[in-house]
């Protein structure tokens, strides 16, 4: 199948449609929701979803405070997407920087950063999240921060491995010979050549982070519920 001049496979197309629908729901939540997600209808508490004997007014029923579940679900997708993207963006920024430094300079800098990576991946991640969220209390900023703090390790490892294979290529040595300053060299010559794997890791990370956010919400520690 061809779309906009590019070859597209069916699974990729279905995935893109699903993702677009999800983003659309998040963006359009205020217009799609039948109710205010935070508004309590105390007379309509714990209604079942309408196919199971509830009222058509609350398609997915209501919670213990009489808040419409469908509206809460629609608004919740905003939190999931925001946490997913912001968390991965932070993790990628930290991980790419440390991975570049680690792979390019090697030696003791590399050793320290890689031991730090080993340390962080030895701790079961949910426990680390629990501890940090327990210490700082739940909230959007804390959640994004801790996701960045824990998930940069994958980026750092991937980038480091790629940098190791790129650092002695001709064009990098040429740039070095021309006297290009190191930050510029890393940013302009090394980074663009390691970007492929980064995109793969980032894509998968957004998905895992969204599931993780859901798990932490289930444990009551992710974001404050909309009141």
């Amino acid at each position: 199948m061809r779309l906009f001049g590019r070859r597209v496979t069916l699974p990729a197309l279905l995935g893109a449609i699903g993702l677009l629908a999800f983003v659309a729901v998040a963006v359009l939540a205020p217009w799609l929701s039948p109710h205010d997600p935070a508004e309590a209808h105390l007379l309509d508490r714990l209604r079942p979803p309408s196919p199971f004997g509830g009222e058509p007014d609350y398609p997915l029923g209501t919670d213990h405070l009489g808040r419409d579940m469908l509206s809460r679900l629609l608004y919740g997708s905003r939190v999931a997407l925001a946490v997913g993207f912001a968390g991965v963006l932070l993790a990628a920024t930290v991980g790419i920087t440390l991975g570049l430094v680690s792979g390019y300079f090697g030696g003791s800098v590399d050793a320290v950063i890689m031991r730090l990576v080993d340390t962080l991946i030895s701790i079961p991640n949910v426990l680390l999240y629990l501890t940090v969220l327990g210490v700082f209390g739940p909230g959007f900023g804390v959640l994004v921060g801790v996701i960045g703090f824990v998930n940069w390790t994958t980026f750092a490892r991937v980038v480091r491995a790629e940098v190791l294979s790129v650092r002695n290529r001709g064009y990098v040595e040429a740039a070095r010979a021309l006297g290009q300053r190191t930050p510029l060299l890393l940013g302009r010559h090394v980074l663009p050549n390691v970007v492929g794997p980064i995109i793969v890791v980032a894509t998968l990370s957004v998905a895992t982070v969204i599931i993780l956010e859901a798990s932490l919400s289930f444990l009551g520690l992710a974001c404050n519920r909309p009141r």
Binding site: S122, I123, V126, L130, T131, L133, S215, L219, L221
Partner: protein
């Protein structure tokens, strides 16, 4: 081999220090423990005295040294919730339940992923392959608390086949093990499929077929043995996420392991318990990874450790 194991054990030391450092920093940031331990109207002198007796008036590096010293002596502190009990003892009492659940989950993952991965690889691009791939995508996309709740709803509440929660008989173990093992099974199925397909395309497989070995023998003796290494690596790497997932699973099924304990401890700000759980479970992960690395040599005679 013994030298290798020893070296790996030595390598674990800096990582363990790193973990204690992270735990230490987090807990110091968490605020003054004295405030939690004394009533609000406690006189200043009393607060100061308690701070001094706990060593909280010393400089931070010295506090960290004291902290590590205590850990080395097996003193992980006292719980503020469980009647001043020794924290390490509380955690070690709960650890077997978590390990039991993790082992059962690994068993579930093996029972699903080995047949599913093999069938998918052998019947490549036919319906069994598509079924296995679909299952593995679903398994990875499903949050395990949701799966757990659905399993309870169907098999415990509606069909009454298994108990809803708790630990005890083997029947209690079934639903939590499936819940925790499903994600792992999905990852492993995908992995076994791809590495088996790769192995089946190798020259030695063609040679084995050519010399007239039975297809079954080729699959098991020639392809499987080579495909299983990557499988084992990932199984080892997944130990950390298995323990992480067990925090959620234990919560769903009220399974009395360290995951449930961790959530309870966080909610009651019992930080000594939290830090002990973080350290103990990280140790479990590291030991599991070491065991996997040693297993390599057992399975693959080409790998030798010196």
């Amino acid at each position: 081999m013994a030298v290798y194991v020893l070296r790996r054990l030595v390598q674990m030391v800096p990582v363990l220090f790193g973990i204690t450092l992270i735990v230490f920093v987090l807990l110091r940031v968490s605020g003054d423990p004295v405030v939690l331990m004394l009533p609000e109207d406690a006189p200043r002198e009393q607060v100061e005295a308690l701070r001094r007796s706990l060593g909280l008036d010393r400089p931070l590096p010295e506090q960290y040294a004291m902290f590590v010293g205590d850990l080395l002596r097996g003193d992980f502190g006292r719980s503020i919730r469980y009647g001043n009990q020794d924290v390490l003892q509380i955690v070690l009492e709960r650890l077997p339940a978590t390990l039991e659940l993790a082992a059962a989950a690994i068993l579930v993952a093996l029972l699903i992923s080995v047949p599913a991965g093999v069938i998918a690889a052998v019947r490549r691009r036919r319906w069994p392959d598509h079924a296995a791939t679909t299952f593995s995508v679903l398994g990875e996309a499903m949050p395990n608390f949701w799966l757990g709740i659905m399993l309870i709803l169907v098999f415990a509440v509606q069909l009454r086949l298994f108990p809803v929660s708790g630990r005890g008989s083997v029947a209690n173990l079934v639903l939590p093990a499936i819940t925790l093992g499903a994600g792992l099974a999905a990852v492993l199925t995908r992995l076994l499929r791809s590495s088996l397909i790769e192995a089946l395309n190798q020259d030695y497989v063609r040679t084995a077929h050519a010399k007239g070995a039975r297809p079954r023998v080729v699959l098991v003796k020639h392809a499987m043995r080579n495909a299983i290494l990557g499988y084992l690596t990932v199984l080892g790497l997944q130990m950390a996420s298995l323990l992480a997932g067990s925090v959620v699973t234990e919560q769903v099924f009220a399974w009395p392991g360290i995951g449930l304990l961790a959530v309870q401890a966080i909610n009651s700000r019992d930080m000594a318990v939290v830090q002990a759980i973080v350290i103990v479970s990280s140790l479990v992960v590291m030991v599991a990874n070491l065991v996997v690395d040693v297993l390599y040599a057992v399975i693959d005679p080409r790998i030798q450790y010196t």
